[in-house]
């Protein structure tokens, strides 16, 4: 039996499901690209089958499997396979002015909500109780809606300052309803009650989706007699263990774009540059900072719902290898229609009838693919279309850039043959090997991170003490998630002072990351340290009153 030492990375995109296998020396030894299936697990299974059958692959060497997918977003958009959630907000007598799910699309609220309530409790910005937690009201609410709910989403005012009321409420849920899925807001989002509450509710709604994907992956691997450790990629492109992903599926919602940025970094060894991921239908341009995707400063909307997730900060344009070009009166038009995965039948270079940007790229000599050369009569159209595409791409790149200086651009994705070698503001265009499966490579890189985003009142020790505390908590979270403690370092730390408060108060965001490989013992210890920290928050003197 070979020693299990290879990683299998899977990325479920809009058009294709990609898979790669990476050996212990970090080389890509096999890759596969298969069309997505409506149930997504079919595509995952096909990609796994295909990559495991590639020449030179010994399936028994697979030790870890990592999956990145934007499937959760689609489930919300399509209202598919969503669970019903009891929505518990802890913050009365504050917060009644805007009730839970007030701005949700009505049909989505009806699909997801098993009932909503606001109970007394919650925390002040300085850590005091807003009001005592009304445990009886929680028990009553659970008694009313428990039967209809698959899970409970709990959000307390200022949980990012102290999660103690959320933790107490979770205990009541366990007592009243047993082992139902519980989503706690302090594990999901930061400051911004409604946005964090929305994300927490979505998390509960997505619990079934995550379970199905995990089960599909398990079954596909079991068919090859494999039981590797399974991970999911999250919004910053780092990994979390299966158990954590099942509890917090919403954290995987932005993993698709993050994976290609991380994959581009890995394939080039470049940690700071721009990344253009050109697919069949669209192009995402993101920024690689210190090896990670730059995140948006504002929360994103998912299916019309505001959340406070920080997702990769991208500019997306409707430009891809399958983008259809045509002439409308005297004007050359690009898309937005794309032939998508039908490119091998539709594009001129594959003998099809439809001029696409891939044909433009081939006609201009940027790539040599397909068997047919586009005919002379299309020449002007294709050239004009490519010139337009170059301008669109250059504008999008300029929108993403944050400094005047020229930066390198890494071009990845199946459609990246479109990207010209010279672009204003770009010092060089880097085209790594395996560019067409950079996203699956990104999933398989095996970095594990831990994040903290909390409010600190500066007391003794001032800023330094608060920054240290945030940093060690981020480190503990990374190790608990499976990072090798020897490799964990702080990759990002940011402090934001809060205005209009006379006592000095800051919000600190810290992120630590390391490589996969912590020993079970180390994970356990980090988890214990984290538990101890949480126990500190549950000050007995304060909770006795409740």
């Amino acid at each position: 039996m070979p020693r299990p030492d290879c990683r299998l990375g899977i990325d479920v995109g809009g058009t294709n499901t990609d898979a790669v296998i990476i050996d212990p020396a970090d080389r890509v030894i096999a890759k596969a690209k298969v069309p997505c299936t409506p149930d997504i697990t079919g595509g995952i299974a096909a990609a796994i089958d295909s990559v495991l059958r590639a020449p030179g692959v010994e399936p028994a060497r697979i030790s870890h499997v990592m999956l990145g997918t934007t499937h959760a977003t689609n489930a919300v958009l399509e209202r598919r396979n969503l669970r019903r959630v009891a929505v518990l907000r802890i913050g009365g007598p504050a917060t009644y002015a805007i009730r839970p799910m007030y701005e949700w699309p009505r049909d989505l609220a009806r699909t997801v909500s098993a009932g909503e309530t606001i109970v007394d409790g919650g925390i002040e910005f300085d850590g005091r109780d807003l009001s005592p937690l009304d445990t009886d009201a929680i028990a009553r609410f659970l008694g009313q809606v428990g039967g209809a709910a698959d899970g409970v989403a709990i959000t307390s005012v200022f949980a990012p300052v102290s999660p103690r009321h959320e933790l107490l409420a979770a205990e009541i849920v366990k007592r009243e309803l047993g082992e139902v899925h519980v989503s706690l807001s302090h594990e999901i989002g930061s400051i911004g009650l409604l946005e964090r509450e929305n994300a927490t509710i979505l998390n509960g709604a997505l619990a079934g989706v995550a379970r199905d994907v995990a089960e599909g992956m398990r079954a596909a691997l079991a068919a090859h007699h494999l039981r590797p450790t399974r991970f999911f990629a999250q919004n910053d492109g780092t990994l979390m263990g299966l158990d954590h992903a099942l509890r917090y599926p919403v954290l995987t919602i932005g993993s698709g774009p993050a994976n290609s940025v991380r994959g581009a970094a890995f394939l080039t060894g470049n940690s700071d540059s721009l990344v253009a991921d050109v697919g069949g239908t669209s192009t995402d341009i993101g920024v690689l900072v210190n090896g990670f995707p730059r995140e948006s400063s504002q929360g994103v909307e998912i299916g019309g719902i505001r959340t406070n997730f920080r997702m990769p900060d991208l500019v997306t344009i409707a430009l891809g290898g399958g983008t259809v070009v045509c002439r409308d009166r005297e004007e050359t038009r690009l898309g937005p229609r794309s032939v998508g995965y039908l490119i091998q039948q539709e594009a001129l270079v594959f003998g099809g009838p439809t001029p696409t940007l891939t044909d433009s790229a081939v006609a201009a000599g940027r790539a040599a693919i397909g068997e047919a050369k586009p005919g002379r009569r299309h020449r002007r159209l294709l050239a004009e279309a490519l010139a337009r595409a170059d301008v669109m791409l250059a504008e999008a790149i300029d929108r993403v850039k944050t400094s005047k200086a020229d930066t390198p651009l890494i071009a990845v994705g199946g459609g990246s043959i479109l990207v010209p070698d010279r672009i204003p503001g770009i010092s060089e265009v880097i085209r790594p090997e395996h560019f067409d499966t950079a996203n699956a490579v990104g999933a398989a890189i095996a970095a594990v991170s831990g994040q903290v985003d909390r409010i600190f009142q500066l007391r003794e020790g001032g800023r330094t003490a608060a920054l240290d505390e945030a940093a060690s908590e981020a480190r503990e979270r990374a190790v608990a998630a499976g990072a090798d403690p020897d490799t964990v370092e702080i990759v990002e730390i940011e402090e934001i002072p809060l205005a209009y408060l006379t006592s000095p108060t800051v919000r600190i965001r810290a992120k630590a990351a390391g490589t996969l490989g912590g020993l079970p013992e180390q994970r356990f210890q980090a988890d214990m340290a984290r538990q101890a920290r949480l126990a500190d928050q549950l000050d007995p003197a304060e909770t006795a009153a409740t």
Partner: protein, 361 residues
């Protein structure tokens, strides 16, 4: 003309309030939701011109005092306005006839609409500033000599404090301290006044309808909202470009900082620096002042023409900076003393934005 603040006009008003916030006044989104929920439950709010109300009718100005970060977390109960009204009526022995926003800029411009819906009272088409300013005495009522007292502050729990102070500055100090104890945010009323006083220069008139008009101009010109907005308010475009640098720091409870915008397109090669203290204070280019307080300087998303607050501005955003004239009350000697460049620690005298624009044209 009597009109109703309903769902559509409130949504328009919110966009207008954000632009009149000149970068400050807090995010409008939550206040809009609060007002929408209130009118959904209690019905729309009449908007009345000051001339439609009897001169001796009492107006209750109001809004929130506190930290924006707390506002987005600890949302109000909704009943704070009623409590303020009851206490103010008790203190003055008079009945409140209408509500008014202490400042139209930002979310505080909308909060009183939610209160008014619950009380069945009208809003007057006026406010205390015509924009947003950081301190409680920076209102037209103060310039007109109306005392801030009796002021009332309350929280979502029902705690209430009555302030009787000797000056506006004391009101600022004491209310700010109390707001922190309340948990970083509280709702308050100061400078209650009669309709006659409000008509007689103690308020900025027609500012609610202006906010609505601004929002409607944006909505009605989806293809070119920026041009529509500039035409609607007679603004001057200072620069169009992208945010090159943002720096913020805390000094005595306020956010101070700078934003640098690098011109693009026809403004390529230009660098405009904004200095801010919660609101934008000054716009500078090569050491020359392009606009300054009390005139309004607002950063807009170039594409949508929506305002970007000083808390949300970040690197790389595509922005257009505009400046426009403040209400004349702020350009008087007394107005400049309270909210001119020197009141914010600058060593230069105020020059109206239209004069600077004419001089550089």
């Amino acid at each position: 003309m009597k009109r109703l603040l309903d769902t559509d006009s409130l949504r328009a008003m919110a966009r207008g309030c954000a632009i009149l916030g000149a970068g400050g006044g807090g995010d409008v989104y939550l206040d809009l939701l609060q007002a929408l929920q209130a009118i959904e439950e209690y019905g729309p709010v009449p908007l009345m011109d000051l001339d439609e109300l009897p001169g001796d009718a009492l107006i209750m100005p109001g809004g929130g005092v506190g930290a924006p970060t707390v506002v987005i977390e600890k949302i109000a109960n909704g009943n704070e306005g009623e409590r303020l009204r009851d206490q103010l009526e008790h203190l003055t022995g008079r009945q409140v006839a209408a509500l008014m926003a202490a400042e139209i800029g930002g979310g505080n411009g909308i909060v009183p609409v939610a209160w008014a819906a619950r009380m069945g009272l009208p809003m007057v088409d006026a406010d205390g500033i015509g924009r947003a300013f950081p301190e409680i005495p920076q209102v037209a009522m103060h310039l007109a000599g109306i005392p801030p007292s009796p002021a009332v502050m309350t929280d979502e729990r029902g705690n209430m404090v009555v302030f009787q102070t000797i000056s506006g500055d004391w009101m600022e100090r004491l209310e700010r301290a109390a707001a922190v104890e309340f948990g970083g945010i509280a709702q308050s009323t100061e400078f209650s006044l009669t309709v006659a006083q409000a008509r007689d220069g103690a308020t900025v008139r027609n500012s609610v309808s202006l906010a609505i008009r601004i929002g409607e101009a944006l909505t009605n010109a989806p293809d070119n909202p920026l041009t529509a907005l500039i035409a609607e308010i007679g603004a001057f475009r200072l620069v169009t470009g992208k945010v090159l640098d943002v720096e913020r720091r805390m000094t005595s409870g306020f956010t101070r900082g700078t934003v640098v915008v690098e011109g693009t397109g026809e403004d390529a090669g230009r660098l405009v620096r904004l200095e801010l203290q919660n609101e934008h204070l000054v716009a500078l280019e090569r050491g020359h002042v392009l606009a300054s307080v009390p005139d309004l300087i607002t950063v807009l998303d170039t594409e949508t023409a929506d305002a970007i607050s000083t808390e949300r501005i970040r690197y790389g955003q595509r922005v257009t900076v505009i400046a426009f004239a403040c209400d004349p009350v702020w350009r008087t000697g007394r107005g400049l003393e309270v909210a001119g460049p020197r009141a914010f620690g600058y060593e230069f005298d105020f020059v109206p934005v239209e004069e600077i624009a004419r001089a550089t044209a």
